[in-house]
């Protein structure tokens, strides 16, 4: 405590010191919260023990015994464990969330820019899309997409036959699968070499532009490099892949790649819904950049597209990134609505079936929360890194 200056001032009691008071308040509050948490936890543990409800994580290694319709890693209902089911569900969630984020971002940026278009029709269409999608609950939209997908597709017997041996029906989309054969690593090596070449070209073009003021056709050359070199090696190595075509059985199509209608419905629903919000975020970001920036860029002779890419968007990104992070997190969390349309996501498998079969609500719910916490923190960490890079550097 600093001494009160001046001899005439009376010594103030510690109780009336605002700093001391705030510390006391916070300590009391913290203590109360801790007490509540402790009471709830010990009560729960006692109740579990008294009701003889199993606790602990022994179930993790027990055989699951239920089937899952989409598994990215090997899984069998008869031999795989609940722990394996956990990973299967987690991967399914990450798959739909990752693809959903990619699609939603693409659609969202296009629509957001379209809303600002000087073309009356384009701007109105984009506005109509945003407004109509935002007012409807997501669950309703998912059910709509699921039923729309299912109703629109033909029965197994009337499958649409696609080129290259694919099939489309209300059981899903079935495509031929490519299995790599020995010799395929040469193709991969060619791809890596082409990639290195592209990076080198990019560096050289930057130097070249600085020296001469001319831009090289980097994008075109990169595309040609990456596409042709591996393709040539692929042909030279004698096409080292085997194709597995889907086979039509009595009830189902097996072999090949199978894309479930549940997955498509969830992916489409999540992308369309989140894209509407991302579009607004993007629009807000672009509007936040003052008009003068665009005008100045054009005055310097940059074409409109280049001005947008090099001047406006980088500045808009500073405004866009933080709310965009929210939308990515929302999309990931919303993917748990999968349970309504039968897509085996993490919540459906783990917090649904596993919880029910084992009855260990506390452990399962705790793990579920930990998983979503990890995914959310990871996503926002990555975007915060990017945000730090594009943020205005103040000197």
């Amino acid at each position: 405590m600093s001494r009160v200056s001046g001899r005439d001032r009376p010594q103030i009691s510690l109780l009336f010191d605002p700093k001391v008071r705030s510390v006391i308040y916070q300590a009391v509050l913290l203590g109360l919260v801790g007490l509540v948490v402790y009471a709830a936890a010990s009560n729960a543990i006692d109740n579990l023990a008294r009701a003889k409800i199993a606790s602990g994580f022994a179930f993790w290694n027990h055989t699951a015994g239920f089937e899952i319709s989409q598994t990215l890693i090997a899984y069998s209902s008869q031999s795989s464990t609940y722990g394996r089911a956990f990973w299967v569900g987690l991967l399914n969630t990450l798959l739909v969330a990752g693809l959903g984020i990619a699609f939603a971002t693409i659609i969202g940026f296009i629509v957001g820019i379209a809303r600002l278009s000087s073309n009356w029709l384009v701007a109105r269409l984009a506005g109509f899309y945003v407004e109509s999608v935002r007012i409807l609950p997501l669950l309703l939209q998912l059910l709509f997409w699921y039923n729309a997908v299912l109703k629109a597709l033909p029965e197994l017997r009337d499958s649409v036959v696609l080129p290259f041996g694919g099939y489309l029906n209300n059981r899903g989309l079935f495509l031929p699968r490519l299995d790599v054969a020995p010799g395929f690593d040469l193709v991969l090596a060619a791809l890596v070499i082409a990639g290195i070449g592209a990076v080198a070209l990019r560096l050289f073009s930057r130097v070249h532009q600085r020296r001469t003021g001319r831009r090289l056709p980097v994008v075109t050359v990169t595309l040609v490099l990456i596409l042709t070199i591996p393709a040539l090696v692929f042909l030279a190595a004698g096409a080292p892949v085997t194709v597995r075509y889907p086979q039509v059985g009595r009830f189902n199509i097996s072999g090949g790649i199978e894309i479930l209608p549940e997955f498509v419905a969830l992916l489409v629903g999540l992308s369309i819904y989140t894209a509407a919000f991302i579009a607004e975020v993007v629009r807000a970001g672009i509007v936040a950049v003052s008009r003068g920036q665009m005008e100045a860029a054009q005055a310097l002779g940059l074409r409109r597209g280049l001005a947008l890419r090099l001047v406006v968007i980088p500045q808009a990104m500073r405004v866009i990134i933080p709310p965009l992070t929210n939308q990515y997190l929302n999309l990931t969390k919303n993917s748990s609505l999968a349970v309504a349309i039968g897509y085996p996501d993490f919540v459906q498998i783990f917090t649904g079936t596993v919880l029910n079969q084992t009855g260990q609500a506390i452990e399962v719910v705790a793990l579920t929360m930990a998983v979503y916490l990890t995914i959310s923190l990871g996503t926002s960490f990555l975007l915060n890194l990017y945000n730090a890079r594009v943020a205005l550097v103040e000197r």
């Binding site: 009701a51 199993a54 299912l150």
Partner: protein
């Protein structure tokens, strides 16, 4: 380690558990003035509110019978509609006093879930429903089929066992609720819908064209359906257990809703004991002497409850089969009251 992880979990989950009153369910029910009953809510014949919001069904009548035994009023029940996956958590946490929701009695549910099955009120088994147009006559022809199933059920597990035992492959599409699973089956997403046979008869009525579908003859599992209560309250366990036996005994002794007022004057000592004219069996349970009289007066005996909700008096028209009295070749057997 477990204790630490459990501590972490409480933030969200333990709120449920902490409100659980483990013992003294009867007192809680009496103080509250109504019974809280976990029921199905989507299954015709077993638990489904009608257009006016009145709950109807075989399981529902068991809850009403308990309310009649405690309060002499079958309407003092608050029904909580539960999905297959939520039902045990709701009971464990004390959200409902009793779970009567076509739930299969298995060892793991009896032990590790901290619950007690009180007695089989319906002997069931798992079956399949398919479209007639598929021209399938046996479940053994379902190799490679896509099957719609409700999550969190024993059906989900039996499927795996049955198909593996018969060296067949299958694909499941799993839904959280009956209605969603059924809608997917109806739209052609699956070749077959599977659940307990009793449920198949019930949900078939919900399909767009019920006559286009048939129930296959195979029963692939034992599904003894039972009410459930929490561990740790023997008095309440006894009440729910003996309510079922009393209803079966009433049928054995031909005591019905219509004649219960006559029967109470009977000289048959078994009837006198059951209806409370002699002895104090109901009081030993913590209820009144006339608890069985109350149940039968309001709801009828086991046979009446069966026929009214799922038997010949209902659209389901399920025959008694295994659920006939033991005297008529079935398995329903009321333990003696004495």
């Amino acid at each position: 380690m477990n204790r630490v992880l459990t501590l972490l979990g409480i933030a969200g989950a333990a709120i449920l558990i902490t409100s659980a009153s483990i013992a003294q369910t009867l007192n809680t029910v009496k103080t509250r003035g109504s019974l809280s009953c976990g029921a199905n809510g989507q299954l015709p014949g077993f638990g489904l509110p009608d257009a006016q919001g009145n709950w109807k069904g075989f399981d529902v009548d068991y809850c009403r019978a308990l309310a009649a035994a405690v309060f002499d009023d079958p309407n003092k029940v608050k029904f909580v509609a539960l999905t297959a996956k939520d039902r045990f958590t709701a009971l464990q946490s004390g959200d409902v006093d009793v779970l009567v929701r076509n739930t299969t009695w298995t060892s793991s549910r009896d032990t590790q879930l901290g619950l007690n099955a009180t007695g089989v009120n319906y002997f069931d088994g798992q079956g399949f429903m398919v479209r007639k147009a598929l021209k399938v006559n046996s479940a053994l022809e379902l190799n490679d089929a896509a099957i719609c199933v409700q999550q969190g059920t024993t059906t989900e597990l039996n499927l795996g066992d049955y198909f593996r035992a018969n060296r067949m492959r299958f694909k499941t599409v799993t839904f959280a609720s009956v209605d969603e699973a059924l809608a997917a089956y109806d739209s052609g997403r699956c070749d077959a819908y599977t659940t307990d046979a009793s449920g198949l008869y019930g949900v078939r009525l919900k399909l767009a064209k019920p006559d286009d579908h048939i129930v296959l003859p195979e029963i692939i599992s034992k599904e003894p359906l039972s009410p459930f209560v929490r561990h740790g309250d023997d008095q309440w366990f006894d009440i729910v257990k003996w309510a079922h036996f009393a209803l079966v005994n009433a049928e054995e002794l031909a005591i019905s809703k219509a004649n219960v007022d006559e029967q109470i004057k009977s000289i048959n000592p078994e009837i006198k004991r059951l209806l409370g004219a002699e002895g104090n069996f109901g009081e030993q349970l913590g209820l009144t002497k006339d608890w069985v009289y109350r149940m039968v007066k309001h709801l009828g005996n086991y046979g009446e409850i069966f026929e009214r909700n799922i038997g010949q008096g209902s659209p389901l028209k399920i025959t008694r089969g295994l659920n006939s009295l033991w005297t008529k070749g079935g398995l329903q057997y009321g333990m003696p009251l004495r």
